[in-house]
Symmetry: C2
Subunit: 257 residues, 2 copies
DNA sequence: AAGGCACTTTGACGTAAGTCAAGGCGGCCA
DNA sequence: TGGCCGCCTTGACTTACGTCAAAGTGCCTT
């Protein structure tokens, strides 16, 4: 599989690792980050991005299954996914669990914490991952100096609101097959924007997590994957997905019944 | 009708109308607005709110059934509900319609437009209403001068994200009765925060709109209102609701089955 | 005051998705 | 290398909610 992340191949485990890490850090400031066109720096000038370099100086590795933060943790920073894959979820007192989003490289996590100074959801790595830590007080400070950064940050928040409303539409009006089709097309488009194949990818989440996100049970998700496969829309082998008929999936969405 | 827009009224037809309108304007700047503790000025000092007065100088009346904006309209301003009641909805190409929120006095509308410079949803008055127009470019400008305003604005956006995630939870994991109970409790709490009764209120929206918001059909909403009434939880007379057993409604939420 | 209209209620029936249960696949660790 | 365990698939049955249809209610207009 050629889905290795270009960011992780670098750090060595030998004597040179110390220097390697320094170089690594140097190379991962925003101004030279390969994700800059997808992430917070989107649309900023070279000079403006260099301001951001002052801000984003800590990175953090999160192992598969570990939490980046939990509901109730005090909020202090936003996080940009540098490599890997995350999910966010809410848990009700009675144990019910709703996945509210999946996050891939370049996406900003933690926006929920700004309003109350506490995180309101849990965010967990679905594979070994790395994030850039963005101290929020400093972001507000820097936004004050770099007007376009402020604007860009507002756009990031607004787009999150729009995304959430799209999920409401999905949960409120779509049937199970439409939900899964919409989900696959959305993943496809996001992988594509990151330079990965849009027809072939590896799901990082379980059927249960997909189901939770889509308001379905895992058996339903599984059955629909099988159905899509029978119909020649996709090829599914466990977590490996190949989209065979993008237009067919899109057609599933356009029709009311 | 005396519902004339103060901005357009300048070329008034007689001498007295001119002065009357000025007094009216004076009374509705943020610094003397009764909603200041619920709206954008929340938590700002007297001095800081007076800066806001420069910004929010236009109000606009929207008649019942009229749109404040539609999906696709160019984005320029946010709107704070001054009086009345609004809904927002998304419409899919095939005609499916999802209500994404209801807005009451003090709440900010239009945040969806910041990300793309176009509004992404429709917002419609459910009764004759009035909004304060907040030109967004000027808000960003003023946020630059008044640090706490900037912070406050970020909190407003973040809370909207958290609210949306709560709706995802509702749509993704709750059964119909739980959804309606959560909806009633939410309305009750918001009316209460505005100084209205939290046990007795008038629904501004139809059963169909409630259903759309909750991912249910109008018949289901109607049946559950009847059931709640039989069980002595609420008294329902068309759109007039009286909550008889708040704890009973809350208990509906706490249990997984 | 009457009639129309938009909204709501209620009943009978249909169905998409959930539940429960059994078995299969594949990766990981001893 | 074998066996365990987490995850996935599939089948048989159940159910919560949707659909369709017919009345009922109250407001608005003329």
């Amino acid at each position: 599989m050629n889905q290795q992340n270009p960011q992780t191949g670098r750090a060595g485990s030998d004597a040179s690792s110390h220097r390697t890490i320094n170089i690594h850090q140097l190379k991962t400031v925003c101004s030279s980050c390969s994700l800059r066109e997808l992430c917070l720096p989107m649309g900023l000038s070279q000079e403006e991005v260099e301001y951001l370099d002052q801000l984003v100086y800590t990175r953090k590795r999160i192992k598969r299954g570990e939490n980046l933060y939990r509901a109730g943790d005090p909020f202090g920073s936003l996080y940009a996914v540098r490599s890997g894959f995350f999910k966010s979820n809410l848990i009700l007192e009675d144990g019910r669990d709703q996945v509210t989003g999946f996050h891939m490289p370049g996406e900003i996590m933690g926006l929920d914490g700004i309003g109350t100074d506490d995180h309101t959801c849990n965010t967990t790595a679905l594979e070994d991952s790395e994030v850039c830590v963005i101290p929020f007080a400093r972001l507000e400070e820097l936004g004050h100096q770099v007007r376009n950064l402020q604007k860009q940050f507002h756009k990031v928040m607004s787009r999150e609101i729009v995304r959430d409303q799209g999920v409401m539409m999905l949960l409120g009006t779509m049937r199970a097959e439409e939900r899964l089709a919409a989900f696959l097309l959305n993943l496809s488009q996001r992988f594509n924007a990151r330079g990965y194949s849009h027809t072939e990818f590896h799901l990082r989440m379980t059927r249960e997590e997909i189901g939770s996100y889509l308001g379905l049970k895992l058996e339903t998700v599984s059955r629909i994957f099988s159905k899509f496969q029978e119909e020649g829309l996709v090829s599914v082998q466990q977590k490996h997905i190949r989209i065979l008929d993008t237009d067919g999936l899109k057609r599933m969405l356009g029709q009311a019944d």
